[in-house]
């Protein structure tokens, strides 16, 4: 029932919010290990930069197409043994349709209680759903169309849920289940940013970062690392005129994820089955890095160098595993997990760096059991054979090495591969992964790194000091860190650039991960735009610029380019595209950092140098356009966005940004055309609808604005600013009753902001004090 209110009051509310269409809150902000930031779209006269466009998976460079994949069942007949093992493996059971014992918790109707409502998981026999009952909002039901994960991981197994929404997109639902915690939890990234928290009755639904469901399976902007991995051949393609269409072969991890597309192989098997070209590659003959690349498709943190990766493509053409280190601390100084990094830590292990260890040295790949480096089966994940097949010297008299009587706590992995909770997750939901840097326990050092030492796994009652003393007593000196790690630990902010270079830059060592960490630190703390190097630093950076590692080389080249433009530019022609892409990304990153700190000139230099490396690079041009938009230089912004679209015309958000620039320059009609162009590519693009709404709102066309905001919120119900502006439009249209839920949503998503709070208060007052 709509309460009747005195018209005067109503008008008063309308008047207050008449000119209040302003930017309030960030949306889609990065969080929870995410890599993307869709920016901070605003309304009205403050044109909104919108970064990180989505791009469909089509590229002239692709040699693999979705049609090349056939699915696991096609492998079963000929490879029955492997298929059988896989079917029972964690990969084979990593996800899929609900039911048949795949759910790790009961959907018996027991509500997940929030302070503002409840979510009720219910269903049986294969049909499951979440019913969302939230105060002040209509009931919403989300069918469970797929399970993500099977809760298999020993250090913390979880299960997520996806649902196909009415707009056709398949989205992650905000509530996950932890097998070890035996509880519902959610990721609070982008809201309260407290990591993964067990859902408590005092939590608001909006504290869950993905509420309402916004994260689309298979797309990059939010948590790019997860999207393609919890499933096989997940494809979110942007169909012009339709929007994002998500398809997948399986929500498990299937044969072709590791072996690459098998259609040619199946044709071979069904045909002549002759010749040495069987249409698929054997993993048996992979070298160390080739083998790792198969697993690092998913088991490593990485940045997207180029979108459109499909299994079978060269990983380093599409992903850079070390670039996430820039601007973040995914790894601590010795390579262990600092925030959230999966098993990419392996790249910092001595077993890899000084040996030849790959994932399949210990992990049997089909059944996910354990074997040793000679493929001799092992009993379990704690079997010493994983280590002693190589470290045979330690197997002769284990106790003389361990100093501990044989016990569960004296296994090799007890001390050298302890389970470490990924810090970014927080400590409520178990998400520990065994430490794949395979370190030596150093209780004192471990504590300084903010990590729990392996010793404390058993000796919980002892202090780090005490444990450190014991290790020194038992083992004397332990293996020192390599010089780069030592350098990172020693390079305090107080030292000068020359000394920092000597500590951090070691081009002669074959330690790419540490080299990247150290160089990134050097770049960010001891260099400045166009401030020449010290002689020593220059020599070392130049040497690193010849590294065989693509990431290290690219970072060194970008550093050189940033510090001494001509020295960097001179090296551009000799570098392959994989390096130039990374190089340009790094310079764009430096531009972004500069823009964020308000140094537009430095930001511009970063983008322009990125464009020198990759001429007409659509991404660098888009970044440049956003910078000009921010600084109000709309003419140059229009030019940059137009050029960006020239190279990559199917980017809806670039059209949106172009529209914002045009609006800023006073070309309202041009802006409208840009938003329409964006919607022709993706009719579901919420930010296009949102800015369209802003256009109508500015024009005083309330109803059209309301319709546009409605479409934006249909496709992104978590767009807080959209709710706020919708409320404004509804107020202007004097539809106060309808405005209130949107104002509440705006407040819900930005509880610390005064303006939605004031708006809610005003509306509640005029509507009669509704709660």
């Amino acid at each position: 029932m709509v309460p009747r209110r005195p018209p005067g009051l109503m008008r008063g509310v309308a008047a207050r919010w008449a000119a209040a269409v302003v930017g309030l809150m960030g949306v889609h902000a990065c969080g929870g290990g995410g890599d993307a930031d869709t920016g901070d779209p605003l309304v009205d006269g403050s044109p909104t930069p919108v970064a990180q466009d989505y791009r469909p998976r089509t590229s002239a460079l692709d040699e693999v197409a979705l049609d090349d994949f056939v699915g696991a069942q096609a492998c079963a007949q000929c490879h029955a043994e492997q298929f059988g093992m896989w079917s029972e493996s964690t990969h084979g059971r990593a996800g899929g349709p609900p039911g048949g014992g795949t759910l790790i918790t009961s959907f018996d109707g027991t509500p997940i209680e929030f302070s503002d409502g409840a979510v009720i998981p219910r269903g049986e026999g294969g049909a499951y759903e979440f019913v969302v009952r939230q105060e002040g909002h209509e009931e919403v039901r989300y069918a469970v169309d797929g399970l993500i994960g099977g809760g298999h991981m020993l250090g913390g197994g979880t299960q997520g849920f996806v649902s196909r929404l009415p707009d056709g997109t398949v989205r992650f639902l905000p509530w996950d289940y932890s097998r070890q915690a035996d509880a519902w939890f959610c990721n609070t990234g982008s809201r309260t940013n407290e990591g993964w928290v067990v859902i408590r009755p005092d939590m608001a639904m909006a504290e869950c970062g993905d509420f309402p469901p916004v994260r689309t399976l298979g797309t990059y902007p939010r948590f790019a690392n997860c999207q393609s991995c919890h499933g096989s051949q997940i494809e979110a393609s942007l169909e012009p005129g339709v929007g994002v269409v998500t398809t997948w072969e399986s929500l498990g991890v299937n044969c072709e994820t590791c072996h690459g597309p098998a259609r040619a192989h199946v044709a071979w098997a069904n045909g002549s089955a002759g010749g040495s070209d069987i249409g698929i590659e054997s993993r048996v003959v992979d070298g160390v890095d080739e083998s790792l690349a198969v697993c690092f498709q998913c088991h490593a943190l990485k940045d997207v160098v180029q979108e459109g990766y499909l299994s079978g493509m060269p990983l380093d053409a599409y992903y850079a595993l070390k670039l996430p280190i820039l601007g973040d601390d995914p790894y601590v100084a010795d390579g262990r997990v600092g925030t959230f990094a999966y098993q990419g830590t392996h790249l910092s292990s001595s077993c890899y760096l000084d040996g030849s260890m790959t994932c399949v040295s210990c992990h049997e790949p089909h059944g996910q059991g354990y074997w040793d480096v000679n493929r001799a089966p092992l009993a379990s994940e704690v079997d010493d054979g994983q280590c002693t097949a190589c470290h045979a010297a330690k197997a002769v008299d284990p106790e003389s090495h361990t100093g501990h009587p044989a016990s569960a706590g004296a296994n090799c992995v007890s001390c050298h591969m302890p389970y470490l909770q990924h810090p970014e997750v927080g400590d409520e939901v178990p998400f520990a992964r065994s430490d794949h840097t395979i370190p030596i326990p150093r209780p004192g050092h471990d504590a300084r790194m903010g990590l729990v030492s392996a010793c404390r796994t058993c000796h919980e009652d002892r202090s780090e000091i005490s444990l450190q003393a014991s290790t020194e007593d038992m083992w004397g000196l332990v293996k020192p860190h390599d010089p780069i790690v030592s350098g990172i630990l020693a390079a305090t902010p107080a030292i000068g650039a020359e000394q920092a270079a000597a500590l951090l830059l070691h081009p002669g060592l074959d330690r790419p991960m540490a080299q990247f960490q150290a160089l990134a630190r050097f770049l960010e703390s001891w260099t400045a735009l166009d401030q020449p190097f010290s002689p020593e630093a220059r020599i070392r950076v130049e040497a690193l610029a010849d590294s065989e590692d693509l990431d290290v080389r690219s970072l060194a080249l970008a550093t050189l380019h940033w510090v001494e433009e001509e020295a960097g530019a001179g090296r551009i022609p000799a570098q392959p595209q994989a390096v130039r892409r990374r190089w340009a990304m790094i310079l764009s990153y430096l531009g972004d950092q500069s823009a964020a700190s308000g140094d537009g000139a430095r930001a511009e230099a970063g983008y322009l140098r990125a464009l020198a490396v990759l001429p007409e690079d659509p991404q660098a041009l888009r970044s440049l356009g956003l910078l000009y938009n921010q600084s109000g230089d709309f003419g140059r912004a229009i030019d940059a966005f137009t050029r960006s679209l020239g190279g990559d015309p199917n980017q809806p958000l670039t059209h949106v940004n172009l529209g914002i620039a045009r609006a800023g320059s006073g070309d309202a009609a041009g802006a409208l055309r840009s938003y329409e162009a964006a919607l022709r590519i993706d009719p579901n693009e919420p930010l296009a609808h949102f800015n369209m709404g802003n256009f109508h709102l500015r024009a005083g066309a309330w109803e059209q604005a309301i319709q546009a905001y409605g479409r934006a919120l249909t496709h992104d119900p978590g767009l807080g600013l959209g709710h706020f502006n919708m409320a404004v439009a509804l107020i202007r249209a004097e539809r106060y009753q309808e405005a209130l839920p949107h104002a509440r949503r705006a407040l819900e998503f930005s509880p610390d902001d005064d303006r939605p709070r004031q708006m809610v208060a005003d509306l509640e007052r005029v509507l009669g004090g509704a709660p």
């Binding site: 010749g275 040495s276 070209d277 003959v285 070298g287 190589c390 470290h391 090495h401 100093g403």
Partner: protein, 476 residues
């Protein structure tokens, strides 16, 4: 069998011949053999006629002019060996051949004065029978037949004669004679090699192991210039011996893809080519792997890969740590790889390292690691690549894609913990991120032996591992 002392065993009609020790003063080395064609022994009814013809010829040719024991009216001249007695040292076959070309039969002694009479084959045959033992010829024939009946496995016996008379046991080990480790153990040849290949090899021995059966010893199998019949007999004899047993195994039929996969594993992952050549790639320590299909039996290849020491005690080849399916794959590949067996290029002038006996002597009583024992092991197992003095300059080093570690390099070796050296010896170079062609000896050497090698390597470099690596130090 008459008085022909060197033919005290059985001979085979139609199968070959009989051996005669023609030159006892040369011991086992200088031997010859003549063929005795089947009809001679197989048609005894003609023997008497032939012998009579022989006597007539002897008279006609005047053999008694030089030889005693043959009819000669004018007296006795003893300038040549006695003929026609019960103790004639020559077999008919030898005489048969000798008469055809006296110089060719005994080229290694002083020029013979025995003239060449340009006899027909029948004449030579008649003479040979006459002079060897005319009076007991029928008895010889009877004895031969009786022996043949008693010993149907005649080829073996004949081959054993070849083996004994060649003195094969001087270098080889064999149940019928010989226990030397100089050359490969022949006790299991029947399981090991293909007979056709063995015949070819015995006909014209070529180098199998470029550096010898013991690395560095050199390949010394002599060419005895055996006749085809000798070859056949010896080959049959050797093939008949199957000491021990190996599991039955049949190669998997491999697709071209699997063949390619196996070859890639061999070249890029396994250590085999550290010692063996495949194509033109690989080391020169062990036999070439080219044409294994022609040389070796499949079951032997498979069994040898798994446990070479069982089939060839003391071999330097380590037992594999790989799993059965991979061994099946590689063995199947080797025995199906197309192409003939080709001999290896012989490496001359090598320095002999420690022989097996020395290594065994050192290792047998090892209760704790010693550098001395390590040295013996090192010279035999490691020096081929790492060099006799650890300089990384073993004869095989130039055939490797990565230079062997210089164990004499104090600076470099001081960075390597003892345990790392141990691990590398045990598990191979691959696990240390070094050359995959460094084999894993963990299934062949005991921990004490490996520690001994480590101790010797420390002696070579005159250095210790890093201080931090001295594991187990307490209270320091």
């Amino acid at each position: 069998m008459g008085g022909v002392d060197s033919v005290d065993a059985e001979a085979v009609p139609g199968a070959g011949g009989r051996l005669i020790r023609v030159c006892p003063r040369f011991g086992w080395v200088a031997l010859a053999m003549v063929a005795v064609h089947g009809p001679v022994w197989g048609q005894s009814a003609q023997m008497g006629d032939l012998a009579a013809e022989g006597e007539r010829l002897a008279r006609e040719l005047g053999c008694g002019g030089c030889h005693t024991g043959v009819p000669f009216e004018e007296g006795i001249r003893s300038v040549a060996p006695t003929l026609g007695t019960d103790q004639v040292p020559f077999a008919p076959a030898y005489v048969f051949a000798y008469l055809a070309d006296p110089r060719a039969v005994r080229p290694d002694i002083a020029p013979a004065r025995m003239p060449r009479f340009d006899l027909t084959e029948a004449e030579r045959l008649a003479l040979a029978l006459f002079v060897t033992n005319e009076r007991e010829l029928q008895g010889v024939d009877d004895a031969f037949r009786a022996a043949q009946a008693r010993h149907p496995d005649v080829a073996r016996a004949t081959g054993r004669d070849v083996y004994e008379n060649l003195g094969c046991g001087s270098c080889h080990t064999h149940p019928d004679g010989g226990a030397s480790q100089i050359a490969p153990d022949l006790a299991s040849q029947g399981m090991r090699v293909q007979e056709a290949w063995l015949r070819d090899y015995l006909s014209a021995p070529t180098t199998i192991r470029p550096s010898g059966s013991e690395p560095g010893r050199g390949s010394r199998m002599p060419d005895f210039r055996l006749t085809p019949d000798e070859v056949g007999a010896l080959a049959a004899f050797l093939m008949s011996r199957q000491e021990g047993s190996i599991p039955a195994w049949r190669p998997d039929p491999l697709s071209p893809f699997s063949m390619q996969k196996a070859e890639t594993l061999l070249r890029d992952r396994w250590s085999c080519l550290g010692c063996h050549e495949l194509g033109e790639d690989g080391g020169r320590v062990g036999p070439r792997l080219n044409g294994v299909a022609h040389r070796l039996t499949p079951a032997f290849v498979r069994a040898f890969m798994e446990d070479p020491g069982h089939l060839a005690p003391g071999t330097v080849m380590p037992a594999s740590l790989e799993q059965a399916d991979r061994l099946d794959l590689i063995a199947s590949f080797l025995v199906q790889r197309p192409g003939p067996w080709t001999p290896a290029e012989r490496i001359e002038g090598l320095t002999l390292a420690a022989p097996f006996e020395t290594e065994e002597a050192g290792a047998s009583d090892l209760q704790r690691p010693t550098a001395d024992a390590g040295e013996r092991l090192y010279q035999r197992r490691c020096a081929s690549c790492h060099g006799v003095e650890g300089a990384g300059d073993g004869f095989n080093a130039r055939h490797l894609p990565a230079a062997p570690t210089v164990h004499a390099d104090a600076e470099a070796m001081a960075l390597r913990p003892d345990d790392t050296l141990y691990d590398g010896i045990h598990a191979g170079g691959w696990i240390l991120g070094k050359s995959h062609r460094m084999p894993a000896f963990g299934a062949s050497l005991s921990p004490v032996e490996i520690r001994s090698l480590v101790a010797y390597i420390r002696q070579l470099c005159g250095c210790e591992g890093p201080e931090w690596s001295r594991d187990g130090r307490r209270g320091s």
